[in-house]
Structures are given as C-alpha cells and as structure tokens.
Amino acid sequence: MEKEKHLLELCNVSVGFPQKGKKMNPVTRGVSFYVREGEALGIVGESGSGKSVSMLACVGLLGGGGRVLEGNIRFLNGEDYIILNTMTQKELEAVRGDDIAMIFQEPMTSLNPVMTIGRQVEEMLLLHGDCPKEERKKRVLAMLSEVGLPDPQEIYGKYPHQLSGGMRQRAMIAMAMILRPKLLIADEPTTALDVTIQAKILELLKKFQKEYGTTIILISHDLGVIRSVCSRAVVMCGGKVVEQGDVGTLFEQPQMDYTKRLLAAALGKGSVLKKEPAVCRGEAIVCVRDYSVFYEEKLDGKKRKREVVKKVSFDLCAGETVGVVGESGCGKSTLAKALAGLNPLTSGSADISCENPQMVFQDPYGSLNPAKTIGWLMTEPLRLHHVGTKEEQRAAVCEMLEKVGLGREYYGRCPKTLSGGQRQRVAIAMAIMLKRPFLLLDEPVSALDVTVQEQILILLVKLQKEFGLTYLFISHDMNVIHRICDRVFVMYQGEIVESGDVDEVFRNPVHPYTKKLLGARL
C-alpha cells in the first residue's frame, strides 16, 4: 500500500522565545503531529498551551525573537518535502499566502485599517504571480461573492471598520483563499464572533475544504467548534501534545484527564453548580419597570438619542442568579451599566434596594488600573464611601482576599503579576467589598480559559451563599448560563423576548431567536 501523504508534519518541534538576557526559554517541547492532505485537523488547548505558537512557527511568524529550537517542520511541495524551519526569509515569503494561508481571531485588528478590503485581497494576487489589472479586480470580486459577501462591488471599496465582525472575517477568508492555498491555518477564527455568525463562518470553511480540497488546521479552545469542522484533533496543554486522534474517538473516549475536563466544559456537560434553587420570598430586591436606556449619537452634527434597551420590566429576588443572554449589540451590557448607574440616559423606573450596585467586567486585564497595587485597588471603594479606619480597611481587604482564594500576600502585588483568573478574583473581591447585596456581572468568565472559568463560577456560587448575594449574570454563553443561573432573560434587539426558569427555557424555547441561539450551540 502506498504510504499516505502528510501535507504538513511536525517532528519533535520545540519553540523558544528569548528571555531577559540571551537564554532561550522553550514554550513548547517535542510537539509532533501531522495533517493529511485534504483533511481538517483541529488543535485544541487553552491559552498558553502552545497551539498558536506551533502553527506560527510553521510559517516563520513567531515574532519577538522566537524560533524553532529543535525538530523539523516538513511541508509537502509537489513530490518532495521542504523543511520550513530551515528556509530563508525569502523562501518563506514565497510559501506564505501562496501555499499556506492564515486567518486570525480578531478580524478588525487583523485587517489594515487604512486600506480598502478590495486592495487587501488584491494584494495576494500582486504578491504571488502576475495577473493583469482587470483580471485581478474580476477575481477579487468573484472571491468576495464566493465567501458570501453581499454586493462585492461596494465591499471592494470599503474599509474594515465599515463592515460588521462577520463580514470582516469573510473578507479575511476571501483574502486567504483567493490563491487556493494547499493549507489554511485558522487561528481561533470564530472566537470573537457571535454564536449565530460563528456557525456560518465554520460552514464556509467546510465548503472550501470540500470544494477545493483545501487542508485546514483549525486552532480553537472550543471543542464544539473543532467537532463541527474537523475529523481529527490534537489536544495541547502546557506546550506539549497530550492526546491526538479521530474526533469521534477523542470525544467518546477521552483518555487523558485534561481532555475530559475540556470536553465537559465545551459540550455543556458541566455539572449544574447551583444545587439549591433560590426561593423567592417576600419583596423583590430589584424592581425594574418599563426601563429604557439611551445612547446619545451624533449624526450629521445633530445629537440624537438612540434607544438601546427598550422598555424592559423584571423583578429580582434576594439570593437569585438571573442570566441575561444575547448577541453583542443586543443591549445586555448597556442594561447592566445603566442599572449600576453608569449611564444617566434612562426612562422608566428601576428600584434597587441598595445604593451603588457594583459591577464585574469581562476583561480582567483592562479593568484593573495597572499602576496601583491590589491592596490600593481593593480599599478604594471603602475609601470613597468612608468605611472604617485605615487599619480596618486593610484588615477587611486581607479577609476578602482570603475569601476569594488569593491570600493576604497579594495585598502589595501589582495586577500585571497576576494571571487572568487571579485578576478576575480581585475584580470580584473589589465588587463585594462594600457588601452590597446586588452584583452585576458582565461576561465575567468570557475572557478566561475553560478550566479557569470553572473555578471562577465555583467561587461565585460560594460567595453568593456566604454573603446572600443576588447576581445579574450577563453572558453570551448558553452553557455558562445553564450551569449557574436560576432564571434567564433572552435579549434581542433591546427587548427581553423570552424569560423563565433556565431548565424550562433550555428544554422548550418558544421564541425563534432563543431556538436559534440554542441551535448554534454546536
């Protein structure tokens, strides 16, 4: 039997980056896997597992002085293999784009903001081969319509910021696929997109694989995404390959602990964390009636108010966790900000039994002032509201640090020395410092890896019990909502289109949009 052909092979590859001084610090060790011609391979792992680094190493785009320390990366070119990691810059430039194309996670920042979409796609044709001018434009337009962009003529002359996230990613794909590369590396291509758009982008990738026999390597932290596209997968953790095999086998009978944990989180099989459902007794702690939130927009120099949240009404009981789910732009974050008093343009009424409800935000990197210590940040709410003396404040912060599982030694540390999960613990601790019974959580776990997500969710449940907190939990992730919430509101275009008990809504969704959201769960 003829030996099956592998388009790309990584043999024992270690990648390192220079540390202070000149020593190379390896971030991946002995990574070996292959991809067959025409197949779709998934690489799964959490941030820092080395999945992106391994693929960037293949095309020599490591940056930051990183390089392949040992091992070989072989790529099938015609009948022979070429060794990618020993090629010169010039040779690699010929391979990039032409043989191996890439698409990235964030299509806004991955496209040049001052170049039109048309020119960015056309650049591929200019860089590889010589195609006459009229022909180039024709091919670009054909490609734009092939990736499902409406009105290619118009898109051709537009800039990235004028397109939506999904359209930008389609433009990225058009750029990557116009030369029909042998290998397409997609690095978290749908992570920044809404679930309903995510599914369409993945469909598009599958279509290209089928029609042109393009080999695809799909990097994702989300096993659900991998399962819907790939036939085989590699699981990476801590710079090493922990498990690989057919997606079916891998998903049915995971061998390694790490894979099992990933699977549990990704497929919504995670246990429901909240054991005792909250029982509504007596008065509602939050009472919202016909509540609208506006944004001021400037159009043609005229200020105009745009209604982002449209007349929503709901009650929250003490000790309850209520999820708000919906796509970006549906108004869920705007609602939370307004309830926290961060947007004064509202109408209707929102009676909250406590002053200054506190908020926890999505991005634990951006929301902590990097110039201050953890202790300073956490005492700030106490200082602002004149609670206790300096010593008392310090003692309260140390106690809270222990409650969120960090320990008092974190008092004098700076945010940048903390991991994402640790930072989110600080953000949560900061929000409950004032002991307000109502907490607004705006995508608190979306920026975190699944295993860290798990820990934060457990922490939230524990704190809720201990302090008798009520949560309004905003998320785009149906699985997370299912695991932690008692009730859920589904928001669509500023309105609550469906609400009810979580289990009930998940079992029998009524509104078509809720069905769509649940259907897109892969």
Partner: protein, 313 residues
C-alpha cells in the same frame, strides 16, 4: 461638504476672535502711542494732532472696526518706527521666513522618514543605536549654538558660504537659496531629531499590531510590510506633530535669523516690540495666530485623507 463649510466658518470665527483679542490687548497696555512716539517732552498740541491723524480719538468700536477692515485687506497702518505701511514691511520679511520654512520642512520630511524607518526596522541594531544616540544629542543642542557651529564649519572652514552676507532673493535668487540652505539646516536638525524619535515610536507601536502579522502571512517582505502597510498607519500621529513643527517654523526663529543675519519675521517682531511699534506687533500676532490656525486646518483635512476611520460621510 457640510463638514468642510462648518470647518471654514469656525476657522473664520477664531480668526476674528484673535483679532479682537489682539486689539483689546493693545488697548489695555498702558501708555499712549502718540506720546510714546513723540517723547514725554513733546508739545501737547503736537501730541493731539498726532492722535487725530492716527485715529486715536475715535471711540473703541469704531477703531476696532477700522482695525478689522484694515486687517482683512492686509493693511495694518504705518509702522511708527519705519514710517512704511506694515503690510509692505511684513510681506518683504515673509518671503524670507516662508522660504526658510519650506526648505527646512522639506529637509525634515526627507531625512526623518527614512531614518525613522531604518531605526524601527531593526530595533536595537547598530543603525538604530547610532541614530538614536545622534538624535538624542542633537535634540539637546540649542539652535543658536548649532547656527554658530554651522557658520564655523561651512562658512569659515569650508567656505561654502560667506557668513552674514545675506543675498536678497530679488538680487540673485540662486544665491539666495544657496545661502538659505544653512539657516534651514540649523532649524531642521533639532526637529529632525524629534521627528525621527516620534516616528520610530509610532512605527514600533504599529509593528506589534495584528494586521502586520496578517501582512506577513500573505508573503509580504519586511520592506513591503513597512512601506505598504505600516507607514501610512504610523504617519497618522506624526501628522499632528508635523503640523506643530510647521506652524512653529513659519512663526520665524529670532535666534537663527540673528545668527545668519536674515531679515525675517522673528527679528522684525523683536525690534518692533522693544520700540513699541504697535501696528507691526499687532500684525505679527495676527499673522502667527492665522498661521497656526490654517496649518491646523490643513492637518485636519490631511487626517481625513489618511485615516478613513475619521472620514465624515
């Protein structure tokens, strides 16, 4: 279109405000222009007659109106010191200052863009370290000292030009330009140093962004990445900075004009101020104010051109 009309209207309004403030400032300054011109010992009748002829007897609004209508036509009255119309004085000096500005701005752009790119192409490399060291030093050198050094080296040692022997553009335009190169260098060098540093920081910031990785993944060479993708993005903040530099250069440099014996705006103003030649000073303030405004206006338009994200539909 509406956006541009609005911009022009606000430009005109700010210019009007500048004139109003200038006018008021010179009314508030103590001392009578007529008296200061004729001296304290002058006959009261003579002072009165001069006040009459200068129009100082009229009411404030009337005088402001005549000042304004004169300023719009470029007529600021006669200089007390030279007895000539201020417009004439200023425009003769202006050609020197403008040519000096044009030459130095050309030098700044032509030298700092390539240097900035070379620096950022290999951060920490030999070229980068040398250029950074040199620019750092040049930034700290005061303009008059640079002028003296240039005079010494190119004027006295190499004898490429005769120090102090300014040639008017009317006499020999080629000679004028040849002479102007040296003061232009004196003005340009510190600004080049600043621009290189600014551009380098900007390019390095851009190089870390995702779209650069995309550009590389398409098979662009490093040179193409820099020129085709990074440069335009990196220039966006530099445009603001260049606008400030250009306005500064157009306002005239007293020190450089003195060192090279140039009849420029800066020197005219400094003598006018010490001689209380108010019409000239007034005109000078209005000129500098207008230059800053107009340059800023052009910077705004350039922004629209370069960065589609701030473009108004």
């Amino acid at each position: 279109m509406r956006y541009y009309i609005k911009k022009v209207i606000s430009l005109i309004m700010v210019l009007f405000l500048i004139m109003l403030l200038t006018f008021i400032a010179f009314q508030v300054i103590p001392g009578d222009s007529a008296l200061s011109r004729l001296g304290v010992d002058a006959e009261p009748e003579a002072v009165e007659a001069l006040r009459e002829s200068l129009g100082l007897n009229k009411s404030l609004p009337e005088r402001f109106f005549s000042f304004l209508s004169g300023a719009v036509r470029g007529d600021f009255g006669n200089s007390y010191q030279y007895g000539k119309p201020v417009g004439e004085l200023l425009s003769a000096r202006l050609s020197v200052t403008v040519w000096l500005a044009v030459l130095s701005i050309f030098m700044i752009i032509a030298v700092s863009v390539p240097l900035g790119l070379v620096c950022s192409r290999k951060e920490g490399g030999v070229a980068d370290r040398i250029i950074t060291m040199v620019t750092q030093t040049l930034m700290a050198v005061p303009a008059f000292f640079l002028g003296i050094v240039i005079t010494l080296i190119f004027g006295l040692v190499l004898e490429w030009f005769a120090p102090g022997a300014y040639i008017a553009p009317g006499e020999d335009f080629g000679g004028f330009l040849r002479y102007m190169i040296f003061p232009a260098v004196a003005i340009a060098v510190p600004k080049i140093a600043m621009t290189v540093k600014f551009l380098k920081t900007s390019v390095l910031r851009e190089l870390k962004l995702d779209y650069v990785r995309t550009a590389r993944s398409k098979g662009n060479s490093e040179r193409a990445v820099l020129w085709r993708h990074v440069l335009k993005n990196a220039l966006i903040p530099v445009i603001t900075f260049m606008g400030m530099v250009i306005a500064d250069v157009l306002a005239g440099s007293i020190v450089v004009e003195k060192v090279f014996n140039l009849p420029g705006i800066g020197r005219l103003l400094i003598t006018a101020i010490s001689n209380r030649d108010y019409p000239v000073v007034e005109a000078g303030v209005v000129y500098i104010g207008s230059v800053v405004l107009i340059v800023n206006f052009i910077v705004d338009l350039l922004y629209q051109k370069v960065d589609p994200r701030v473009r108004i539909k």
